[in-house]
């Protein structure tokens, strides 16, 4: 059995996903980072973007994370985000509409959020 790490993906108001994984890739402010079991204890600031979790049964979970933190210790990884959504939960059409609207309103925050959602779906 390959080594595993326990992942908790939590948003401010709920626990989004938790389970065992072999690899987690996330984007921190200083670049993409991949965490595998046995990584050195780590605490980083996340950028808005998709997070890819390779689960231990061979599947892939992609989530859109809007800012937050990654912390890893004792083979337990926590991804903290104010807002986090799994790619499966994202309504593509709605995100596209939101992107259009945000672009026409030049609302940078909304545009970024919609863009992150779409990228998460594309990576899925």
């Amino acid at each position: 059995m390959a080594a595993e790490l326990h992942v908790e993906l939590v948003a401010a108001d709920r626990s989004v996903w938790s389970g065992e994984a072999t690899l987690v890739v996330a984007r921190t402010t200083s670049g993409d980072i991949g965490v595998m079991p046995g990584h050195q204890p780590l605490l980083g600031v996340l950028e808005s973007g998709p997070v890819t979790i390779r689960t231990s049964d061979g599947g892939t979970v992609v989530a859109a994370v809007h800012g937050g933190f990654i912390s890893f210790a004792d083979n337990k990884l926590s991804l903290l985000a104010e807002i986090a959504e799994l790619a499966d939960e994202i309504d593509v059409q709605r995100a596209e509409r939101a992107l259009e609207r945000a672009k026409s309103d030049t609302d940078a925050g909304a545009e970024r959020r919609a863009d992150v959602r779409l990228r998460a779906v594309a990576a899925h």
């Binding site: 402010t29 200083s30 605490l43 600031v45 104010e82």
Partner: protein
């Protein structure tokens, strides 16, 4: 129907209508407590993970962040007071306000100026009536707060703590809210959010006796702390808002339950009085009839002669 009896009947009707309303409010509040408690539970994983992370950075690095070090002579403190938007919740809001008053006095005795921030219409009304200065206030979401509400509240608070005291910033950040202990017990408590007292945080997160490892910070400990602390404040405020909402519903349920019980007692004693009045009326009518019949009999007996 006699006048007395009619008055009683009308009062019974009025009290019955009130009882129906209070009973409905009690049941609504009871169902909302459960929902609010579930929200508190759902926000816990984020809060505990965040507290762990803050502890890890604050203890695991020798950073000297303004938000974790105490000012040498704190001159001004901000107090965030959480009250409810609506009344009919017993002593809920007034207990929170009283706790805030006590905190104010304590801070004033320590020589600090107090800036007050208020959530909830009741607190705003209290301060407005006394014409006290309120730095900022928010209303309209106390019964089911969202994370965005907590963000909205945290924003000016964080901004003012980052400002210099001379320019109107504050050195300390306190919060007064009603802690949800159980369905029957809720306590108005005050606590200091910033500067972080590390002992307290460490105590919270290392209850299980875990030793925090040495972390690798990405990009650097200062940057991580910079990003973490505002989130920490937001999360603390969010948690306090949720607990306050659960407490508000519990307090309202209790208040409405005793109102319903009292209405029941009132209806009982009023119906006793109404029964007595009816009996008195009947007795009076009978004696009138008997008396009338007697008078008639006497009169006719007299005419026979």
């Amino acid at each position: 129907m006699g006048a007395q009896l009619r008055v009683y009947k009308r009062r019974i009707q009025a009290v019955t209508a009130t009882k129906k309303i209070t009973k409905a409010m009690e049941m609504i509040a009871a169902s909302r407590i459960v929902k609010a408690q579930r929200k508190v539970a759902a926000s816990m994983p984020y809060a505990t993970e965040l507290t762990r992370a803050v502890t890890a950075v604050a203890t695991g690095s020798n950073t000297n962040h303004p938000l974790t070090t105490e000012a040498e002579s704190p001159a001004r403190a901000a107090v965030l007071l959480l009250t409810s938007d609506r009344g009919l919740a017993g002593g809920y809001s007034s207990n929170a306000i009283k706790a805030a008053e006590r905190l104010r006095e304590r801070l004033a005795a320590e020589g600090k100026e107090v800036d007050t921030y208020i959530v909830g219409r009741k607190g705003v009304a209290y301060y407005g009536f006394r014409e006290r200065k309120v730095a900022e206030s928010w209303t309209g979401f106390t019964d089911s707060p969202e994370y965005s509400d907590a963000k909205k509240i945290a924003e000016p608070l964080i901004a003012s703590i980052q400002k210099d005291t001379a320019e109107g910033g504050v050195d300390e950040l306190h919060i007064v809210f009603t802690e949800f202990v159980s369905m029957m017990t809720q306590n108005a408590v005050d606590g200091r959010m910033l500067p972080l007292s590390l002992d307290e945080v460490t105590e919270e997160s290392t209850e299980k006796g875990e030793i925090l490892p040495l972390f690798d910070f990405e990009p650097s400990a200062e940057d991580v702390l910079d990003a973490l602390l505002p989130r920490y404040v937001e999360s603390r405020i969010y948690n306090a808002l949720l607990q306050a909402a659960a407490s508000e519903h519990a307090a309202r349920r209790r208040a409405m339950k005793s109102a319903t019980d009292n209405a029941g007692d009132l209806i009982k004693s009023l119906s006793r009085l109404a029964n007595a009045a009816r009996q008195a009326e009947i007795t009076q009518e009978i004696s009138e009839i008997v008396g009338g019949a007697g008078a008639l009999a006497d009169a006719s007996a007299g005419s026979d002669k």
